[in-house]
């Protein structure tokens, strides 16, 4: 038996206000795992993320490789967690590494010049789209919601309409 992943969420800003207050409460997790090779090496971003954690919930920042390793490690199998990643490529790596999820929640992906805005908060480039396609092909629901109260939208339809 592996770790119980209650939510896998993509958000460029990883852990911040709305995630902290809303999703942690809804998913009732005891721990948030932030999986990002970049942040694991960035002291300032680590500090910012730890500050944003809701009281009483533990936050760990791990590399993608370690995330996959501990997911399969029986010593951690009692954990109920929410995993946060920065982008769909990292999400794909985790799923390919054996982490089982039925849906992926997408909050926000920041715009830059390689990307196009496909919703009000989500910007994607070709690589992102390929990763989303990979997930879609594995029957993983691409659930677009900022907070749990929003109505769920399927990212696949946006990707389709924007001709990715």
């Amino acid at each position: 038996m592996a770790m119980n992943v209650r939510l896998l969420r993509i958000d460029s800003r990883l852990l911040h206000g709305q995630v902290a207050t809303n999703w942690a409460k809804i998913t009732k997790v005891e721990r948030i795992l932030v999986a990002s090779d970049g942040v694991a090496r960035d002291r300032i971003r680590k500090t910012l993320i730890v500050q944003a954690a809701p009281p009483g919930i533990k936050v760990n920042i791990v590399t993608i490789a370690k995330m996959i390793r501990i997911y399969h490690d029986l010593r951690f199998s009692t954990f109920n967690v929410m995993i946060l990643v920065e982008n769909p490529i990292d999400a794909k790596k985790l799923i390919a590494g054996g982490i089982e999820v039925r849906s992926v929640n997408i909050g926000a992906i920041s715009f830059d010049n390689s990307r196009k805005m496909i919703t009000d908060t989500i910007a994607v480039n070709q690589e992102d789209a390929a990763a989303f396609k990979w997930m879609h092909e594995r029957q993983i629901k691409l659930d677009v919601r900022k907070v749990s109260g929003d109505s769920s939208k399927d990212l696949w339809k946006y990707l389709d309409s924007k001709e990715f």
Binding site: S12, R13, H16, G17, Q18, A20, T21, K28, L33, R41, R43, I44, T47, L48, Q51, A52, P54, P55, K58, N60, V62, K66, R69, I70, D73, R75, F76, S110, F111, M117, D120, T121, A123, K146, V147, G149, D150
Partner: protein
């Protein structure tokens, strides 16, 4: 005719005066057809009022008082009559009082106290004597163990005095001397008051507690913590009734105050000698276990009634729950019983929420530590037998306003726990949680409430964590052994003795009890012990002490292990360690480094000196010199500094202080850690430590060097394929070390560390074992009863057990990660600039102009900082700016965040509502964008979350 009048009438009519044999309570009760207890109550009251007389001897006989027989035949029984001449003077007092015929109806307040006729009988008599002694009563010292009811007893004395019109004014002023024990000035100013200008900040004259208690009673708790100056003034006040306020020369103020002092200290202790000499009445309260079975049961009933009164429901409990509760009292006496009862009642209340009339306490649902009470009690057969005879299978406690103890002691929660439970349960239910998770949530809460409350207070302060793994009995035995070793044998042991020894005894006893085979003694062990003949002799002694305590023979082999243990905890008190002074620029850089390391290694040879950037070098030199003097133990001082310019100080410092000083620059936490470790090793001296430290470059490399000598490269970490390990050392490598392994494994899992193994080993042939382990493992840290001599951090058992495991593991992680630097960069004030914030804004937002918006949001934060007491950390400020930028962007794209209607309604009650709303209005004024209420809700949640964190952090610090 009232009962009282009937009694007087009967005695007068039957001429029962002192020429007769007198009348017993029994006879009177029978004649008047009233209850014995009522008869006794009236008689006692009449004795106090001086209307009737009371004989000595059993059964007690009473006579009506005739003027012709005044005083002469009158002998009042008091335990102290020989010392203080109470009897004679009291009779005069009573004569004066006979005029006052009208008395209060609430008879004798002491009668209501559990045990007032039994184990507290003498104490009650003493208390009354102290209060009634003319003209102003006698000052009293109450001595009793933690939780034995000193405050309650003192308060009862006060109510008795009030009932007897002994004191003029209502007012029971309490002052805990421990609260200000570290600041005598402040303590004195609280107690005696001060005059304007007595010290900085004394802007006006102020009265102290003594003045406040004028005409009433003043209760000084933990009086042994009163500093000497305070004692002098209190004694002077006791003797003369006059005192001076702080800053006054003459003692001109007068106050009429009854003083009751209390302490947990042993009356034999030197601390108390002065008090015992100068306070005439000493009342010793018994520990819970010295109370009779009947009293224990009564106390339990009282305390349960108190809870029943609060919840307005009956409380039903079975025999086994009663026994468990009584057995759960280990060290905290009635106070502990009270807190345990509050805990199980809170739990019962939660489980029986749907039952309007009754809550049911079931054995199966008790917390484990209370369940254990049953077996604890069962181990004392005699006591259990007595109790069982008094017990019924089921006990139902009904609310009863009369029986509930008044809530006066410090074990009382400052709020109504049941209201909190009720509200919270309703709230969680509203959110759609199922019953079992609701219960779970709330139980955690209750535990937290009670725990934080009692930790702030008296219970659980001592040997906290150790208690969870070792029986109190063993801890007590270990303390006894330490005392004998140190006092009788002059054998000094280190602080960690209690931990090391009690864990050792505990695992040994468990082994014997479980019938496991005895440990074999290796020839290594025997030859090692031969080198320590002194320890061997003491070990035999300790072995006998343990055998005597447990009444079973201890095998010879244990003596060997005991001797080894003694060797490892022996402290050589003559030898001073090399001192360390850390000096660095910045408000708290040096002190925080020093603090981290002192805590981590529990060493006391580190001092620090913080230097603001603008500080004049000569001021710094003087400051550092002071620290050098403070920390020097005769073996020289190592000065660790952050900048080369300071390294020229060595000679000047030596000149100034006469202490040999060596300086090393570029200080890091890792270096302080290493210095501390090296200086506390057996035979360290300044030269050696200095030489070794100059070569020190961080743990990753030095740990590495031990493995494959000389081949160190920059990417050494990848090359070192050995797995990481922490070594735990105990005397045998079995019992204690396994427990330590359990604790550390938990901490590791909790911190998601999957690549460090904990290896328990024995102190016998320790170095060889470590060498063997190092073939396969890279040892990153050690812990246990001795410090192995390898260059990695060591954490003491004491520190580990007191929750130091977390920070220990964090530090190891830090030291082994790529960067060896342990300051949190962000919280240095100069590191947060608009530029930093702007960078992040650029990275994450699409439409906003970071350069322009950062200014606006910066001002937003400043506005809140300036207009509220909220302490904004740099981290919080960046997160807030990022969140606000998100909110503005969402407004612009017209996709605001959603929140539940109920959530939005709740915002007005939020403590930050007004300030945030004002800030939003300023934002609207600048940008012409008004954030909707749902966004306001999320902003407030950020503030609330931060506040909760700060609060829990503070209470954690308090606990420590």
């Amino acid at each position: 005719m009232t009962r009282r009048e009937r009694v007087i009438d009967y005695l007068t009519k039957h001429n029962i005066d002192s020429s007769t044999v007198g009348l017993t309570t029994e006879q009177l009760a029978e004649s008047l057809n009233i209850y014995r207890s009522n008869a006794s109550k009236e008689l006692n009251q009449l004795v106090r009022d001086g209307i009737i007389l009371k004989g000595t001897g059993r059964p007690v006989r009473y006579w009506i008082k005739r003027t012709t027989y005044s005083g002469l035949l009158f002998t009042e029984k008091t335990p102290h009559d020989s010392n203080i001449g109470f009897a004679a003077k009291n009779s005069i007092d009573i004569k004066n009082k006979t005029t006052q015929i009208v008395r209060r109806k609430d008879e004798n307040i002491f009668d209501n106290m559990v045990g007032s006729h039994d184990s507290l009988k003498n104490q009650v008599e003493q208390a009354k004597a102290a209060l009634l002694y003319p003209p102003h009563g006698l000052n009293t010292l109450i001595i009793g163990p933690t939780g034995s009811g000193k405050t309650y007893f003192a308060n009862t004395m006060y109510r008795f005095a009030l009932g007897e019109d002994i004191i003029a004014k209502k007012g029971f002023v309490t002052f805990n001397c421990a609260d200000y024990a570290h600041n005598p000035q402040l303590l004195m100013s609280h107690l005696f008051g001060y005059v304007k200008g007595a010290f900085t900040g004394a802007n006006e004259d102020k009265d102290g507690l003594i003045q406040e208690a004028d005409g009433g009673m003043l209760f000084l708790d933990e009086v042994h913590r009163l500093p000497p100056e305070g004692q002098e003034m209190v004694f002077y006040f006791m003797d003369h009734g006059i005192y001076s306020r702080l800053g006054e020369n003459a003692k001109t103020h007068h106050a009429n105050v009854r003083l009751i002092c209390a302490t947990t200290e042993n009356p034999e202790s030197s601390l108390l000698q002065t008090f015992v000499r100068r306070i005439p009445i000493i009342i010793q309260l018994p520990a819970f276990e010295q109370r009779t079975a009947q009293e224990k049961l009564q106390l339990l009933e009282r305390l349960l009634t108190l809870e029943a009164n609060r919840i307005h429901k009956n409380i039903r409990l079975n025999e086994d729950v009663v026994q468990a509760l009584l057995g759960s009292v280990t060290y905290g006496n009635v106070g502990q019983l009270k807190s345990n009862i509050q805990l199980v009642c809170a739990q019962g209340f939660l489980n029986s929420m749907q039952n309007k009339d009754e809550i049911n306490l079931e054995f199966g649902q008790l917390p484990p530590n209370i369940k254990d009470g049953l077996s604890h009690l069962a181990s004392n057969r005699q006591e259990l037998g007595k109790l069982t005879r008094l017990l019924e299978t089921t006990m139902v406690i009904k609310p009863d306003a009369k029986k509930g103890l008044p809530a006066v002691d410090s074990y009382e929660l400052p709020y109504n726990l049941y209201d909190i439970i009720g509200d919270k349960a309703a709230l969680l239910k509203g959110e759609g949680l199922d019953q079992s998770s609701i219960n779970n949530f709330i139980m955690t809460d209750i535990n937290l409430h009670l725990k934080s409350f009692y930790q702030r207070d008296k219970l659980g302060k001592v040997d906290n964590r150790l208690n969870e793994i070792v029986d109190q009995e063993i801890i007590d035995l270990t303390k006894k052994i330490r005392e004998i070793l140190q006092k009788e044998e002059g054998y000094q042991v280190r602080d960690n003795f209690i931990y090391a020894m009690s864990l050792h005894i505990s695992s040994f006893i468990k082994r014997v009890q479980s019938g496991k085979p005895l440990r074999k003694i290796s020839s290594d062990l025997i030859s090692m012990v031969q080198d320590f003949p002194d320890e061997w002799k003491l070990a035999v002694k300790v072995k006998n002490l343990i055998a005597e305590h447990y009444q079973f023979p201890i095998p010879e082999s244990e003596t060997y292990y005991m001797a080894i243990l003694l060797v490892s905890v022996h402290s050589d008190s003559q030898k001073g360690n090399v001192g360390i002074v850390v000096a660095a620029h910045g408000k708290s850089t040096a002190s925080s480094m020093a603090q981290v390391v002192s805590q981590l290694l529990s060493v006391d040879n580190i001092a620090s000196y913080d230097m603001p950037l603008e500080m004049n070098p000569s001021v710094a030199l003087n400051g550092i010199a002071e620290q050098v003097k403070k920390i020097d133990r005769g073996n020289g001082v190592l000065l660790l500094v952050d900048m080369g310019s300071l390294s020229t100080f060595s000679n000047k410092l030596t000149e100034k202080t006469g202490v040999n000083v060596k300086t090393i620059d570029m200080v890091t936490t890792a270096m302080v850690l290493e210095a501390a470790r090296k200086t506390t090793l057996f035979d360290s001296n300044l030269e050696i430590v200095y030489r070794e430290l100059r070569e020190f470059v961080g743990y990753s490399r030095s740990a590495k060097l031990q493995g494959n000598t000389g081949k160190a490269t920059h990417s050494e970490k990848q090359h070192d394929v050995r797995k990481k390990a922490i070594i735990a050392v105990c005397s045998t490598g079995e019992g204690t070390a396994r427990k330590i392994k359990g604790i550390l494994d938990n901490v590791l899992i909790n911190n998601l560390i999957d690549d460090i193994t904990v290896i328990p080993i024995s102190v016998v042939k320790m170095n060889e074992q470590i060498k063997n382990i190092q073939k396969d493992y890279r040892v990153v840290a050690t812990t246990g009863i001795v410090k192995p001599n390898i260059a990695v951090p060591f954490v003491s058992l004491k520190n580990l057990l007191q929750g130091g495991g977390e920070s220990f593991v964090n530090l190891i992680e830090e030291l082994n990660s790529e960067r060896v630097s342990t300051e949190t960069v962000l919280e240095q004030p100069e590191n947060l600039t608009e530029n930093v914030a702007q960078q992040y804004l650029e990275q994450y937002f699409t439409y906003l102009n970071p350069k322009k918006i950062v200014r606006v949001l910066w001002n937003y934060c400043n506005f809140i900082k300036q207009n509220s007491s909220f302490k904004m950390t740099n981290t919080f400020q960046i997160n807030l700016i990022m969140h606000l930028a998100g909110a503005i962007e969402r407004c612009l794209t017209q996709t605001p965040m959603t929140a539940e209607q109920s959530e939005i309604q709740s915002i007005k009650k939020d403590p930050f509502y007004h300030i945030v709303k004002q800030a939003n209005e300023i934002l609207q004024g600048t940008l012409n964008i008004l954030l909707p209420e749902s966004e306001l809700y999320y902003i407030l949640r950020l503030f609330d979350t931060e506040q909760i964190k700060v609060d829990t952090q503070n209470s954690n610090t308090l606990k420590k």
